[in-house]
């Protein structure tokens, strides 16, 4: 392995950025491909697949054998709102492999009794996200119904290119939210990325069922990351 390649892959991993380490098993030469870097042919297809699934493996291309080691940051789910939905969502998401953090400045809601074994911040999103910024491997679900709490976090999630952004509320509620986000300086194309009403349409009726719908939508967003753009390139 090239020392520079080792240094670079570690930098990427520390910064929570995805990278694939490509090693030619014939001559040992290696290089790093970052998410979105264009790579042509069968090798490019295999690399795109490694980014999407996180699975490592060997591939034959151009008469050579390459080993692709996929280094994907661990995805996480940040929930704005310590409400009923979040109580169901936190344990389910953790089982599915998405550690959860919950942020809600309302101390009556954000109590350890209501949220055992969850990373819980009884603070404003502005303060928490300053310390632990959102990134492309973070999903954000805003479920407080309160613009004072949700809006800043939603704008931050769009700016950080979170792989999933969802917001609770009816279409009417969302229409008003769109106006407010535009006023905050978000672009219309950014705002279009928000899933609202939140969750896959499974007819969810209870808080726990809404949690299932949100988790399913989060997983779908994660596993289909970048597919639209890559399809356009191919």
């Amino acid at each position: 392995m090239d020392p520079y390649v080792l240094k670079t892959i570690n930098e990427e991993r520390r910064a929570r950025r995805a990278a694939v380490l490509v090693t030619d098993l014939g001559d040992g030469r290696d290089r790093i491909v970052r998410e979105g870097d264009p790579v042509a042919g069968d090798l490019g297809t295999a690399i795109a697949n490694a980014f999407r699934t996180g699975n490592s493996g060997s591939v034959e291309a151009e008469g050579r054998t390459f080993f692709l080691n996929a280094h994907l940051p661990r995805p996480r789910l940040v929930v704005i709102g310590a409400v009923h939905i979040s109580q169901a969502l936190a344990p389910m998401a953790r089982i599915a492999g998405y550690p959860v953090e919950i942020i809600d400045p309302r101390t009556a809601f954000a109590t350890p009794e209501r949220f055992p074994d969850v990373a819980l911040h009884a603070e404003w999103p502005e303060d928490v996200l300053k310390r632990a910024p959102l990134d492309g491997y973070t999903a954000l679900a805003a479920v407080t119904h309160d613009p004072k709490i949700d809006d800043f976090a939603l704008k931050a999630a769009l700016d950080a290119r979170c792989f999933y952004v969802g917001a609770l509320g009816s279409r009417k509620t969302h229409a008003k939210r769109v106006e407010r986000l535009l006023a905050l300086g978000a672009g219309a194309d950014q705002i279009a990325r928000i899933h609202a009403p939140i969750g896959l349409d499974i007819g969810a009726a209870s808080p726990a069922e809404i949690a299932v719908a949100v988790l399913a939508q989060t997983i779908h967003a994660f596993r289909s990351r970048g597919l639209e753009t890559k399809g356009a390139v191919a």
């Binding site: 392995m1 020392p3 661990r74 953790r94 550690p99």
Partner: protein, 112 residues
């Protein structure tokens, strides 16, 4: 289950290899590149070895690490990468009901 979203720097093999490199040590990196059956460690797992035989990480959960470390010494000496293949018929394989065990292919290369 480790739930941190950040690297465990004290235990991460590639971080440790980089540290050894900065200390001026000769280092080999072993990587699981293929598995069949009930291989205990997934594809992409690393074992890193220095010239004194110190090692961190795992390619088989303990079954073949000794052999990999020995081969890694030669790789550090010669600078020529090697592909190793092992059958793994260990306790884990028994426990999951696969007494035939699994097979793994491990690529061992020198750093630099």
């Amino acid at each position: 289950m480790d739930e941190s979203i950040y690297l465990d720097e004290a235990r991460d093999p590639l971080i440790i290899a980089e540290g050894w490199m900065k200390d001026g040590k000769d280092v080999a990196i072993a990587t699981v590149v293929e598995t069949w059956g009930s291989a205990p460690r997934p594809i992409g797992s690393h074992l890193v070895i220095d010239a004194e035989g110190n090692f961190h990480g795992s390619v088989s959960g303990g079954c073949v690490e000794g052999a990999v470390v020995t081969e890694a010494m030669d790789v550090i000496g010669s600078g020529k990468a090697r592909m190793l293949e092992f059958g793994v018929a260990d306790e884990t394989a028994w426990q999951v009901g696969l007494s035939c065990g699994g097979r793994i292919k491990v690529y061992v290369e020198r750093l630099g």
